[in-house]
Structures are given as structure tokens and as C-alpha cells.
Amino acid sequence: MSAIRREFVKTLFQKRTYIGWAGLFLVPFLITLAFRFSSGGPHGGGGPPDTGEQIFEQIRTNGMWVSLAALLALSTFLLPLLSSMSGSYTIAGEAETHTLRTMLMQPIRRGTFLMAKWFVANAYVAIGMIIMGVAALIAGGAVFGLHPITLFSSQTIGVGHALGLTVASYAFVMVAMITVVSLAVFFSTLTNSSLTAVAAALVLVIIMEALGAFTVFDFLKPYLFTSHFAAWTNLFRSPVVWGPIIKGLINFAVWIVGMTGLAYFRFRKKDILS
């Protein structure tokens, strides 16, 4: 527990922590203002075209959708970017500033150290997503009001139920982002440059998204974690279509365990030369 507390303290002392959170706070306000003062929707949403369009169409009449629009828009790039950065700093960032050796010269198990960093990197992203969700509700509610929503399957549900589904959607995307953090943590154990680790993780995310965009690579889709990023939209159907959601969670779990395990075994025996 003290290892986690220590990592939190370090995170809270970094300016970039607040810059990332400030960005996630501002984006929902920008989305809200964009919809308030323009007649068209955004250029592409990153999610399935039908659900994306439906979400963006409904924003102007119901602020509840702002949080979901932000989630759909940001889960393809900004959130993976933030997750990559957060994960990459864990080991490579400390190696870069040479504080890694000062840390590991103290009596701490390398596994404990790595897992505390992994946990705090994920907590950082989770706090960012909570900030984003709350900001979206504030901005959407203030400009368009919070009303019962119409699901993609045409039924209407109350604000409370809709809030519950929104929280569940954020939780699902959070698990997706844990996958990206785990990937970045693994790359972070391979290099002493956090920028290299960020780039490696982000490039892999972009390659997966590109592969998922072409039908010729459809056979790969079940294995690419990015293909499941928008599976939360199935929560907004009645009855809920659980298949894609469960498949997505299983896919994320395999990647998380695999990447974190590789990072653990790599870091446990790594020579600290920085």
C-alpha cells in the first residue's frame, strides 16, 4: 500500500498530471459548445457509424449524450494517447531521469514497484475519465438539459438508468485503456526513453485500428483489442447485447495479463544501467 501511496505522491507532483486531466475536463465543454453553435455533427466518431451518428444526432436535444459522445470520440485517440503516456512513464520515464536507480537502491521488490506503478498509471487514467464524465454531464446538462434517453433499439429509459449505463460504459472503456496502459508498461521496461515507449504503444494501437478498418483483415479482428473499444454501445440496446461486450472484456483481459506478465518478467531481471 505504501508503494502505491508513494507513486501517487510522485504523480501528483508532476505538472503533466494536471495538464492531462485539464484536457479531459475541457473536451466535453468543447464538444458541447461545438454542437450548440453548429448545425452539423463531427467528422466521424470512431465508433460504429450507426451508433455514432445516433449519439451525435441526439446531443442537441439531450445533454445526457455529451458524456457518451465524448467517450466515443476520445476512445480512439486521446484516451489511448493518455494511457500510453501514463504507462510509458512508469519505468522508462524514471530511467530517463535516472531516479529509477535511486528507487531500486532502496529495499523494495521489483515486482511490487512495477505493480504499484501499473496501478497508479491506471488510476491516473481512471481519474481522468471520471473528470471527463463529470465535465460532460455538467456541460451537457447546462446547455441541453438532462432528459430521459431513447436507446438505439428505440425504447426510452429514465435519467437514473441512463446514468447507470453511462457509468458502465465508462468502466468498459476504462478496462480497454488498462490494456493500453499494460502495453505501454511493457514497452517501458524495454527502453530507457519514455518517448520511445509512448510511440511504440501508440503505433501499435494505430496499426490495430488500421487493420480493423479493412475488411481484408477481418480474420484478425477478434484478436485486436482496438476492435472492441466501442462495444459498450451495446449497453444502449434493450435487451442489452452482451456478446460483443463479453468478447471485448475477455480480449482485454488476455492482453492485460499477457502484457503485464511480460513486463513483470522483463523488469524482474532487467539490468538497471541508466
Partner: protein, 339 residues
């Protein structure tokens, strides 16, 4: 830091060396390869309780790699380090509870104050009181800058803070990697005095340096390393060559060189910056002075070349390992234990 703070029962169990003092830090066949490069080669050194142990060698000889191995930052290819009765890397965590120090330049979180850094790192090895933080900052002369962010610190201040962190838990052994590197003369003097003081208080210090004079000034025992191997170790006083060198400065160094060169055996006179350095034997100095005066040469200074002994030996030994690995130096020249 008095001797009472040490576990006497443990000390009795440890191997004894150095006039019956227990060995608190040792390496056993320690070897580290980086691909094809052998950075540390079958290293066997022993540091006893209360030693200020100099770890001497030219740049790139494997000193820092050895210290990384001591702290468990890197894994040995063969062999192990022993800190008290804990082996590294196997018992790394337990060993680290008895070690303090730094490798290369000590690095801290620049966006935190020195005090917070000391607490953050220090608490990884148990509770750290504010009083102890103040105490160690006072010891290294940083009491007034304790609340400044480390990012604003100079290199020398970071070195001092590194020593403060090393001291915070009163460890059995403090390992310092070139602690005076990059310091101004006053800073070097302060750090050396601090190390000497620690030694007097009974703390074992393992001090790496490429400065021979520093080792002579501060350490009681030393090992000389070259090309990854320890080539000699023992008490610093015994590492000196048997002869006594003097430095001579006159009003006319050219004529003095001729006179002294005519008196001394071949190869025992050489130039060191503005001085003539000569290996003097019994009765040599009075005779030399007489001849210089007779030659109407003003004698400005005749001083013992304190640092010359170890330096000669160091250069000789490291040159030997460059040309003849494993070759021995003339036994009469030293009384230290050859490896």
C-alpha cells in the same frame, strides 16, 4: 553512530578479517559480462567493519559496475556480493536494509523539495522522522536549502543530498561512487571530512574514486582495480612503495636537474609539472641540498611527495595489466596483498 548500534552477535558470526574485525561487505568471484565485454572479472574484495575502504581505478575499469552489482541494480554473470550475512542478488532486499549510498550522480525528483525527497526514499526503508531529516541535512550542509526544490540544486548540492540519503537510516555500510566528482575544492574538502568523520564514528564506508590523493587522504584500506580485476588490496599505508619520494623546486630547475640526475640512480628522477621528483634514499636529501647550494642554486622547496607513492604504484600496476594481464610487479616495491 557508535559501535553499540551494531549487532555484536551477528558480527561474531561473520567471517573475521582485518585484525579480527568482521567482514561486512565482500564480493566472491564477482563477474559481470555485457555481451562480449567482461566489465568485472572474478572480483574478490573484503571490507571490514569500520573501514573507510578506497576502491581505486581509472575511468572505465569497472568500479561503477561493481557498485551496481553491490546494490543489486544489475545481475552478476557469476559470483555474488555479501552484505553482512545476506547475499546479493539472492537476498537483495535484506542486504539493502544495511546499505546506503549512490551510484554515478545521485538523482532525485527535481519537482520536490530535498526534505520530501529524503522522506520519500527514506521511508522505503522504515519510518523517517522530521528530526532525522533535519539532522542529515545539517550533516551535509544543506539545512538551509532543505525546503528548496531539488531541481534548483547544483551538482555539488545533489552529491551532498545523495550522502544525506545514504546516511538517513544509519546503515552498516555506505557505498559512495566518486562522491567528490564535479565538486569545487571546498565541496571536495567538506565531503572528505564528512567521510573521515563517518569512519571515525565506526561507519564502514566503501568509497570509489579515481583520485589517488583522495584515497590516501581519506581511506585506511584500499583496492586498486584495472580492467575489471582487483590487482592489489590492503591497508593504504602498505600500498606505498618502500622508497620515499621528495619534490624539489629551485631557482634554476635545468641546472638542478643536471646535479640531481648526476647523483640519483637512472629512472629515479622525473619531472612533475614544475617540480623535480626524486626517489630519495638514506642521506640523499642532505647531500642533494649541499650540492645544490654548492652549485649556487636557490632552493625554494624540498617537500615529501606524499601522493607520489600510491600514484607510482597505481600507474605501474595499471600499466602492467594493460600489457601483461596477470603479471606481477616487483615484490619489494609493495607490501599490499596482490590478487
Amino acid at each position: 553512530m557508535s559501535a553499540e548500534r551494531f549487532d555484536t552477535a551477528l558480527d561474531e558470526r561473520l567471517p573475521q578479517g582485518c585484525d579480527g574485525r568482521p567482514v561486512v561487505l565482500s564480493t566472491h568471484g564477482l563477474t559481470k559480462d555485457f555481451k562480449r565485454l567482461r566489465a568485472v572479472d572474478s572480483l574478490d574484495i573484503s571490507v571490514c567493519r569500520g573501514d573507510v575502504f578506497g576502491f581505486l581505478g581509472p575511468n572505465g575499469c569497472g568500479k561503477t559496475t561493481t557498485i551496481r552489482l553491490i546494490f543489486g541494480l544489475t545481475y552478476p554473470t557469476r559470483g555474488y556480493v555479501q552484505v553482512l550475512d545476506h547475499k546479493v542478488p539472492h537476498d537483495r532486499l535484506k542486504a539493502l536494509r544495511h546499505l546506503g549510498g549512490f551510484v554515478d550522480d545521485p538523482m532525485f525528483y527535481g519537482n520536490m523539495t530535498a526534505r520530501r525527497n529524503l522522506r520519500l526514499f527514506g521511508e522505503m526503508n522504515g519510518a523517517v522522522s522530521e528530526e532525522r531529516v533535519s539532522e542529515v541535512l545539517e550533516m551535509v550542509g544543506l539545512a538551509e536549502r532543505g525546503r528548496s526544490k531539488v531541481g534548483s540544486y547544483s551538482h555539488g548540492m545533489r552529491q551532498r543530498l545523495g550522502i544525506a540519503l545514504a546516511l538517513i537510516h544509519k546503515p552498516d555500510v555506505i557505498v559512495l561512487d566518486e562522491p567528490t566528482s564535479g565538486l569545487d575544492p571546498q565541496g571536495m574538502k567538506d565531503v572528505r571530512e564528512l567521510v573521515r568523520e563517518l569512519g571515525k564514528q565506526g561507519t564502514t564506508v566503501f568509497l570509489s574514486s579515481h583520485l589517488l590523493h583522495e584515497i590516501e587522504l581519506v581511506c585506511n584500506r584500499a583496492a586498486i582495480m584495472s580492467k575489471g580485476r582487483v590487482i592489489v588490496q590492503g591497508p593504504v599505508s602498505e600500498l606505498h612503495p618502500a622508497s620515499h619520494a621528495v619534490k624539489v623546486l629551485t631557482g634554476d630547475q635545468s641546472r638542478a636537474w643536471e646535479i640531481i640526475g648526476g647523483m640519483a640512480a637512472t629512472g629515479t628522477v622525473r619531472q612533475d609539472e614544475e617540480y623535480i621528483v626524486v626517489e630519495s634514499g638514506d642521506g640523499f636529501v642532505p647531500e642533494m641540498v649541499r650540492r645544490l647550494v654548492a652549485g649556487n642554486i636557490d632552493i625554494l622547496a624540498v617537500v615529501p611527495a606524499i601522493e607520489q607513492g600510491l600514484e607510482d604504484m597505481f600507474l605501474e600496476l595499471t600499466a602492467e595489466t594493460e600489457t601483461r594481464p596477470g603479471a606481477g610487479a616487483p615484490a619489494a616495491r609493495r607490501r599490499g596483498r596482490r590478487k
